[in-house]
Symmetry: C2
Subunit: 432 residues, 2 copies
């Protein structure tokens, strides 16, 4: 090790997090909750390398994101590489690569870490983790409804209550029909209107209406009526005939049959400009003082096409760890930290180390997670270590235990003791 | 999406892997096997970001590795950052950062991915995953022995047999005493001798002896005797007195009491030049045609010092996924792939979709992982999809099932059928 004059920083790189054991335990809880739900629906896990060639992102995302927000660099062999900012191009590449062998329809999920170069702020970090859930190879609306059910079930598994979140649903197909056929907007005007709607909440409503009028002229009233509709069955007859509107009605029907009732039609939900081709949805925190989008997704049917392969229809969503962490924190749904270690064996004197080793081997063989304190410190320090590490049970080994093979299991939280013989120890601990 | 003339490659970035579901399943098997063992010994999980500031690696590893083998680049804010090539500097940083709050001794583990820029070859990729297991804050040899036991137990958990691997153990403390005090070598000569021993297997034995003689002169015979000793209890009396030799004897004793007998003393095991300060060990594949090191570790007592913090003694090892994958493959220990999805519901006609949805909701509520085929294809295609995805059971839903609520569970592998009523379905599937 080279001595340095300059003191090294112990902080993690800007916009990233260290996961100390308690943080990691929470992260594992978030991931395993997600994983349990998606596996229940038959999704299977995949992943890929964090590094991809930059060309792929240029082809998919357009140049803006590649130029300003990605971690791109030239490797030592002259290749232009990027640390993935999202998983979708990677999964498209993987499907295109084995298109002929893969048995469609596929239900796939992954929980990758993603990097974006941006100014760190609450809910936005340079590195975050994101559950990606997708069905590939089915056009049926049942798939769209299933994806929304999965999102709903994950929220419920975190303990969220129906009244504390809702699912806003729209259809890009409906929007496209409306804009192109009903309002007969030019491509340019369509684009501007979508952009305007995307920024609706960031402007005065008067200003918004003025700008809508400038695009739609005499049809702007009709459009404003459409935009304020929150029940798909209440859509004006003039719009309700469109295919996209029928699709939405069907999706709401399927979801309602599944008992998912906190869904609303949101004609202003766009989720960006290209990419999505059908259903789009977003899960919102309904907290009146902090209503905000938690995550979302939708149907995109041109996914694999950038690789010059056959089109594969897809529908899915991405759910970030930071946003959901903030949500469950706000609603007091964070689980209490529990060490994965069940028992801490304290040793009164080095002469009892052998016994401690025998006992720990015996317990481990019986699937009890056991740590042994070899520090040779005074007993109170050893117990303090176990307490600070939030290990629930302690056994101390000294002369008595060595002679009798009878042990006291101390429950740290309850401050109780149980006296148990060696032969019963594993069983008693497993049941604690 | 921007149309491109050039066809995009579907290959992963050079030296990295795509994990399709069957690969991912194996990867999860490898990680969960490692995790079960280390948690049994009371190790708790941590992790950190993949990106770190480059200065940290310069301070720890010296400039060679930073200049030639790392993925280092300047971020958009002008910071020199590196994709981690190893986890040790990160864990040292994390401990230094919270040195005062952390309750020592700590047993920590992590399974990070690491990047090194090198020419990809068998067993060496640009990205690999590595279990890192460490105890911090104990000087006792019991900790060294525990770390070796953990390595042993992981090998056994993968199904390895004692005769198919061994654990080679040495002590840098013994080597240092010997070189400095017994042979009274200069620092320069010590360094050269260690380097020579590290390259021993890559040169002719005659050439090796010649070079040893050039350094040790008349003492080279004595040294060669030492180097060929494989039983610590057979060490010449003149060496056996050294503290490092006593330590090794104790470690072999502890391991033997634990029933770990496939350990050998290997005085030629060095594991590089600086860094390690005590026990060093490596686990070897004993296959006579392909004997090679699988992984290793040892004691390093200056870890946290690069951050100008108090010294924290540590002992641990790192175990890569690629090497262990190759090992278990060679010995036919790979588990058979099993989908996490238990049941595939095929639908004979769209009119039975509602029933399929009701049934799948019912089964999911009872913890059965179920996928439903909404593709509206002919039945044989639906069944083929389930078979190709290696989902073990199928239920088909048509008119009969709709009327009677009695279903046939087909076991794809055994080609058997079981007739079960709706009410029993969840129970029967859980027991399959």
């Amino acid at each position: 090790m080279t001595p340095t004059n300059q003191k090294l920083s112990t902080e993690p790189y800007r916009g990233t997090r260290d996961f100390y054991p308690e943080d990691m335990s929470l992260q594992n809880y978030i991931f395993s909750t997600m994983k349990t739900v998606v596996e229940r629906y038959g999704y299977i896990e995949y992943t890929a390398s964090l590094l991809e060639e930059t060309a792929m992102y240029r082809a998919k995302s357009g140049s803006e994101i590649v130029n300003q927000q990605t971690y791109s660099f030239i490797d030592r062999g002259g290749r232009d590489v990027t640390i993935r900012p999202e998983m979708t191009p990677t999964v498209a590449r993987m499907i295109a690569r084995k298109r002929k062998e893969l048995p469609l329809p596929l239900r796939w999920f992954s929980i990758p870490n993603l990097f974006r170069y941006e100014r760190p702020q609450r809910g936005r970090l340079r590195e975050h983790w994101q559950l990606n859930v997708d069905i590939f190879g089915i056009n049926s609306l049942e798939a769209d409804a299933e994806i929304i059910s999965v999102a709903y079930d994950i929220m419920k598994s975190f303990g969220a209550r129906d009244e504390n979140f809702n699912i806003r649903i729209n259809s890009r197909k409906l929007i496209n029909y409306l804009f192109n056929e009903y309002f007969t907007l030019s491509e340019e005007n369509s684009y501007q209107l979508i952009k305007l709607i995307d920024h609706k909440n960031k402007m005065e409503s008067k200003e918004f209406i003025l700008q809508v009028e400038s695009i739609l002229c005499e049809k702007s009233h009709e459009f404003m009526d459409f935009l304020t509709c929150t029940d798909i069955t209440q859509l004006p007859d003039s719009f309700a005939q469109y295919e996209g509107a029928q699709d939405l009605k069907n999706i709401f029907d399927i979801l309602s049959k599944k008992g998912i009732l906190n869904c609303v039609f949101d004609p202003s939900l766009m989720r960006g400009f290209d990419y999505y081709t059908g259903t789009v949805f977003e899960v919102f925190d309904t907290n009146p003082v902090n209503s905000r989008s938690l995550f979302g997704g939708g149907r995109y049917d041109d996914l694999v096409a950038i690789f010059d392969a056959e089109k594969v229809p897809g529908v899915g969503f991405g759910m970030g760890d930071v946003t959901i962490h903030n949500y469950i924190d706000t609603y007091n749904l964070l689980p209490q930290y529990k060490s994965t270690t069940k028992l801490y064996i304290c040793i009164l004197d080095n002469e009892y180390i052998s016994l401690a080793n025998e006992l720990s081997s015996h317990l481990r063989a019986n699937k009890v997670n056991v740590a042994v304190d070899y520090s040779n410190r005074k007993l109170s320090s050893q117990i303090k270590t176990a307490e600070k590490q939030k290990i629930p049970f302690i056994v101390c080994i000294g002369q008595d235990e060595s002679q009798t093979k009878i042990f006291k299991i101390k429950d740290i939280e309850k401050r109780t003791e149980k006296i148990v013989h060696w032969n019963e120890l594993a069983k008693v601990l497993m049941e604690c």
